[in-house]
Symmetry: C2
């Protein structure tokens, strides 16, 4: 198996959403195509991916460093014993001549390329990626539906409460049963009114999570924790600064229900530090690393293994992203579930046309690879890139 | 004061050096020009900087996000009370619409632009940057010479020991008295032979430091620590992974002489974690953050203040970089000194032509700004960028 060519293009995400920390008005993402010499079902095998949600396009680093390093590698040096490209070897090759540390600058471009290689690999094997991942990293038979909640409840500049309730009604009507809404963008009182408005629609507080997007300092997070605790919410996400491990630890002492974090951890060492220093409670708290942003799926599987070695459970892992890549990883590895962003990030959100939401679960696509082919808008853009 | 235009170009560093972790064969850097509406001594005031040593060029992020955000800002919104651009305000503006976390991806482009703004600011004030920094962040009169050691002793593919000794003789003959050599790239025994060979030239072990470039795991670092301790070296730099705070802490318990780290810490939270979790000994260990790679000089000054709040001393801070930017910061803030890379990174290494090394110290340039004008090869490239 050989990589013949690799391409990247930056695409605007076109979202007007705002959370407690920032808005998405200029957000872009890198779409990647890995063109191989394989043919499956009469079509050339091309792997696709994009760099998920919330990190800007990174094509310059790909074109200047990571793509040339892969294309210049002796092709056999990238292969596993099965004669197919080994994603971990591809990552090691891309990391050549990289200075240690500063992971976030390279974990997104490398992870996106790695994810596209998995797409090509699964297509070569004529299997869905979730099935390939289940064979390599799974713990048993794959459920044919995975739990899925909506990452929503973004702040609206006008009629926020009314729009929030309308949004949640739409999600329930669409078949979702659990949602996450933003918090920390208003005063504590106003955010609690928002929470009450959401609960009036959702009902069960175990079906509702809140997300502060790392925008609070410790005193504010502690004040929120005190008010939120009686709600017994599903989880309280990114209450404090991403690497403020000490603050997270103090909050974990003060707040009994689950905390959640991880979408801004980019390497295994970040997760190790979370477990060692942040008071992260493996049996309780939720880990949310985003695979294509954190060196890819193989690295993500190592992070899950690390969590398990600390007594944690896969059922407490919900990969960030809300896209076909995170669905495949969640299903294949047997994780707790994943988020979805229906209608929020244009063609980069949502899921395949053959997939449906029922009772808060999503069925798995039965297409080779990640299944982007089931998303016509996104797949058209990907095909254009590879043409 | 207005920013009229900003430019960036990526330049190959052209270095063949290798340390324990990686080689510099593909290394590039971003050169930046900030063109203002001010005139000083009959010339338009243009601020310059580059992204220091060891991190790749980052022009795509500058052009896509940080430069447009600054150029679109209402000019008055960037000014301090003195009517001049306030670097901290410029950083806040550049950080607009950035998702929290993932600092390494933006701290280098933002920090490089911030440093170029300082150059423009000092030129507008018709003062050397070190003098401006001494007024804002200093602790008293600025010494007219600063301590300076050579970051050298790179591994050579052939005749390594002989070339090492030749190199060190050259440094001593040039007026340097202290050097740092690489370690961790060979076996422990071979690295100790290297150390012995270096000591045979340098003499005093307090004038010799070693640098493992974050390439060791904990068992290996502990084995090195045991062998290195009796040498009582000036410091043992980056023994373990950049964010392996737990490993650093265990090493700090086992190794009495100073450890050093920080060139791969990119934000204040990284330094806070080092102080809280890594067993970093403020009275003993050395902090080496690289200002243009870590959100710039104002952010660096905050990190120094944080260290002092933990009982540390400026005399234990040696900014990474080995260039005119780190010299100005070291002198202006009254730090312990800085490194130099004579002849290693092409036009990006070394120092101004009017500067001389005597008894291990370097005199400060008396030119407005950072003083790149005193480095003809580099300044020609900068002028071309701004033309």
């Amino acid at each position: 198996m050989r990589i013949l060519d690799m391409r990247e293009c930056a695409v605007a995400v076109q979202s007007s959403m705002r959370n407690a920390a920032f808005d998405f008005g200029e957000m872009t993402t890198s779409v990647v195509a890995v063109i191989t010499d394989r043919v499956a079902d009469g079509k050339p095998v091309i792997g696709y991916a994009f760099n998920s949600t919330g990190r800007y396009a990174c094509g310059d680093a790909m074109r200047a460093r990571f793509i040339p390093r892969l294309l210049k590698a002796a092709p056999d040096s990238l292969l596993g014993q099965d004669g197919l490209i080994d994603p971990a070897r591809a990552v090691a090759r891309m990391a050549m001549r990289e200075k240690p540390g500063g992971d976030a600058e390279r974990s997104v471009p490398i992870g996106t390329i790695e994810t596209a290689i998995w797409d090509a690999l699964a297509k070569t094997l004529r299997k869905p990626l979730w099935a390939v991942l289940a064979e390599r990293y799974g713990t048993g038979p794959v459920a044919n539906r995975i739990p899925c909640y909506v990452g929503g409840g973004w702040y609206q500049p006008e009629n926020d409460l009314e729009k929030l309730q309308d949004e949640l009604r739409r999600h329930l009507a669409s078949g979702y049963t659990a949602v996450k809404i933003k918090t920390g963008g208003l005063s504590l009182d106003a955010d609690c009114r928002r929470l009450d408005a959401a609960l009036a629609i959702i009902g069960d507080s175990q079906r509702l999570a809140v997300d502060a997007n790392a925008a609070m300092d410790l005193p504010r997070a502690l004040a929120y924790a005190e008010r939120l605790a009686p709600y017994n919410l599903r989880w309280f996400e990114e209450p404090v600064g991403v690497h403020a491990y000490g603050d997270f630890a103090r909050l974990a002492e003060a707040y009994a229900p689950p905390l959640a974090t991880g979408e801004n951890l980019f390497c295994r060492q970040d997760v190790a530090n979370l477990l060692e220093f942040a008071g992260f409670r493996p049996g309780c708290d939720i880990l949310q690393v985003d695979p294509p942003q954190a060196y890819g799926i193989a690295a993500f599987a190592e992070m899950v293994a690390l969590l398990e070695a600390h007594g944690g459970s896969r059922s407490r892992v919900f990969p960030h992203g809300g896209n076909m890549m995170s669905f495949a990883v969640s299903a294949g590895l047997g994780l707790g579930g994943c988020e979805a962003y229906p209608g929020v990030f244009g063609i980069f959100a949502g899921y395949g046309e053959s997939m449906t939401v029922t009772d808060g679960t999503l069925n798995l696509p039965d297409l080779p690879g990640i299944g982007f082919e089931d998303q016509p808008g996104l797949y058209a853009l990907m095909q254009e890139l590879a043409a």
